[in-house]
């Protein structure tokens, strides 16, 4: 049999480890989107004192490589300190899986990104940032450039679905150029909130739909 996946990838695909939701997680991150065909959501529980990852779970919408990397990256991260977990990269994940087809590497990157974002979100929310940079429009736009516009399969910034944000005393208002009745409005609202809310100095995210 010559499927393009290693035995290890198939094992993790068929029987993924650490799958599901975590109740009351300390941090959450989502990378990718259904529009791209790949999406990973990651949940973290962190020991407040040791900063070790006590528990980690993932959910996946995606291909075999996406599921398998979600499985292996959570295996690799559990028990590690946040600092050590941050050092994990897609090459280590791919290596632990015995290799991935080049065309599938982007799926591995997604799972690693989700882990990094989850750790970053945790740091924002638990006062662990080394330097506290005040949230700016640039920072918001950078984060939003990871939110995919399901209509186009490209991010909401590039597709001009979000052209304007206002930051005022910890309240971030994001204007979305779509009617609030649009079929993707809820999905986009959730994804944008999830991206902005964890920032250390953000208290509230308001999302205003103003398209027609």
């Amino acid at each position: 049999m010559s499927l393009p996946y290693t035995k290890k990838v198939l094992e993790h695909f068929m029987h993924p480890h650490n799958v599901g939701k975590l109740e009351n997680p300390d941090a959450v991150a989502t990378e990718g989107s259904p529009a791209c065909g790949d999406m990973v959501k990651l949940y973290l529980k962190v020991d407040q004192k040791t900063k070790q990852i006590d528990d980690i779970r993932f959910e996946s919408y995606g291909c075999a490589s996406n599921i398998a990397t979600g499985s292996i990256i959570t295996d690799l991260a559990i028990g590690k300190t946040l600092e050590d977990a941050k050092k994990l990269d897609w090459k280590m994940a791919a290596e632990a899986l015995g290799g991935l087809p080049p065309v599938k590497v982007h799926c591995a990157v997604l799972a690693v990104d989700a882990l990094r974002t989850a750790i970053e979100n945790y740091e924002h929310q638990h006062g662990l940032l080394k330097e506290k940079i005040p949230t700016s429009e640039k920072i918001i736009m950078k984060r939003l450039s990871r939110v995919i516009n399901p209509l186009a399969g490209l991010d909401v910034v590039r597709t001009k679905l979000v052209k304007e944000v206002i930051i005022d005393k910890g309240i971030v208002t994001v204007f979305v150029e779509l009617p609030s009745s649009h079929q993707f409005a809820n999905n986009i609202r959730n994804e944008i909130s999830e991206r902005i809310e964890p920032l250390w100095d953000v208290q509230k995210v308001k999302i205003v739909f103003r398209g027609n």
Binding site: L3, L10, F13, M14, P16, V19, G20, T30, P34, A35, C36, G37, D38, M39, V40, K41, E59, S60, Y61, G62, C63, A64, N66, I67, V103, C107, P150, L151, G153
Partner: protein, 388 residues
């Protein structure tokens, strides 16, 4: 659960009927001479007879004359010849051609190549069931238009186009009408006169014939230039030593494709559709909802909240062969262009699974497929972040 491989990818290619292989065999080891003129030696004449007999069988099936059937190396070459051959015949006279957005890549890419070379191309829209917009077609034809190319049945979602109506429009406007019937040949009736088709693409390997042989029906008098040069075979429309064994296999496959199988395949199609709909929630039908408007062997559905490549791989592990319109599955990492043309979201394309049936499938297999799909879909939904 142990069972033989369940092959549901018959729109890609089919199992060659052993009878076909048997009919072909002597043309490799005994009657292997070049099919030459009647003034040649005996083995050459015998090869010619084999070739022409098949040509007659195929011509008869579409109500054509044998000399209107040109053998090619397959559907790809037939589509290339139809599109580029007519374009070349009209060069410096007419420069506009029309096809739909859901044509097979062999037509689509040929048309797009001509566009790069200076021709004008109109791509017709389709509705959410995959039907071509006929009003747009009528509006698009100008006095510069030489060709309209519309498929009979769609390779992914099975939509059967109203080719008789399209044929009438083309005849009224004096435009050549090409029908790509690669997917529908022998399972749907096609009478070239009733349809008023000038060119029809046929292929052997999708009807239990061999790979590497197809044909283009060319109505007598249709302006077309040959694309393969180097000899005078196939009425001087396609050079190259004739694939006699292949053509004989093609003819035999047509003979074996009896109408009773169509009814049988329809019953499997109905069983699969109803089974999936009954057993699995969050399922959407891609293509026409009315089964009689789909190719007999085509079932295409999208499962909400999950991605197709994972479904395909899980089903493969369970011994079932299907494909998906997901970007992950494609070589271009693009979701199915057919589904995009139908106005579907990326998610719907990513979650789509195509099952295509043949006369070799059995109802017991359909039951296994439904059960396996249910298991796989449930398992993948359990780990999906999209669930409520």
């Amino acid at each position: 659960m142990k069972h033989e491989r369940i092959y549901l990818d018959n729109a890609a290619t089919t199992r060659t009927d052993p009878e076909v292989v048997k009919a072909m065999a002597p043309y490799f080891t005994e009657t292997y001479a070049v099919a030459s003129s009647q003034f040649s030696h005996m083995p050459g004449i015998q090869a010619r007879e084999g070739l022409d007999r098949s040509r007659e069988v195929i011509a008869q099936k579409i109500n054509a004359k044998p000399e209107e059937v040109v053998f090619t190396s397959g559907g790809t070459e037939a589509n290339n010849l139809a599109v580029k051959g007519t374009a070349w015949a009209h060069r410096r006279k007419k420069d506009h051609l029309i096809c739909s957005k859901v044509e097979h890549n062999t037509v689509l890419h040929s048309c797009q190549w001509l566009e790069q070379e200076g021709f004008q191309l109109t791509l017709l829209d389709v509705d959410d069931e995959g039907f071509v917009d006929l009003t747009q077609l009528e509006k698009s034809i100008t006095d510069r238009t030489f060709l309209v190319s519309i498929q009979h049945g769609n390779q992914e979602v099975g939509t059967i186009q109203p080719i008789e109506k399209i044929g009438r429009i083309c005849t009224d406007r004096g435009v050549i009408f090409h029908v790509d019937a690669a997917l529908s040949f022998t399972t749907l009736d096609l009478d070239v006169d009733r349809v008023q088709a000038d060119l029809v693409t046929l292929t052997a390997h999708k009807i239990h014939g061999p790979k590497g042989v197809g044909a283009l029906y060319i109505r007598k008098g249709t302006p077309i230039k040959k694309m393969m040069h180097g000899g005078y075979s196939e009425f001087d429309l396609r050079s190259g030593t004739e694939n006699v064994a292949g053509a004989v296999g093609f003819g035999r496959a047509v003979e074996l494709a009896q109408p009773k199988y169509v009814q049988y395949i329809r019953s499997l199609q109905k069983g699969l559709f109803e089974g999936l709909k009954k057993e699995i929630d969050g399922i959407r039908i891609n293509g026409p909802k009315t089964l009689s408007k789909r190719l007999p062997g085509n079932v295409n559905v999208s499962f909400d909240l999950i991605e197709g490549e994972s479904v395909v791989l899980h089903l493969d592990m369970k011994g079932i062969s299907v494909i998906t319109g997901s970007a992950c599955f494609s070589r271009s990492l693009e979701p199915s262009y057919v589904m995009m043309a139908m106005g579907f979201s990326h998610e719907r394309a990513h979650g789509s699974i195509r099952y295509t049936l043949s006369r070799y499938n059995r109802m017991e297999e359909i039951d296994i497929v439904v059960k396996s799909c249910k298991e796989v879909v449930e398992a993948l939904r359990k780990i999906s972040p999209l669930k409520g």
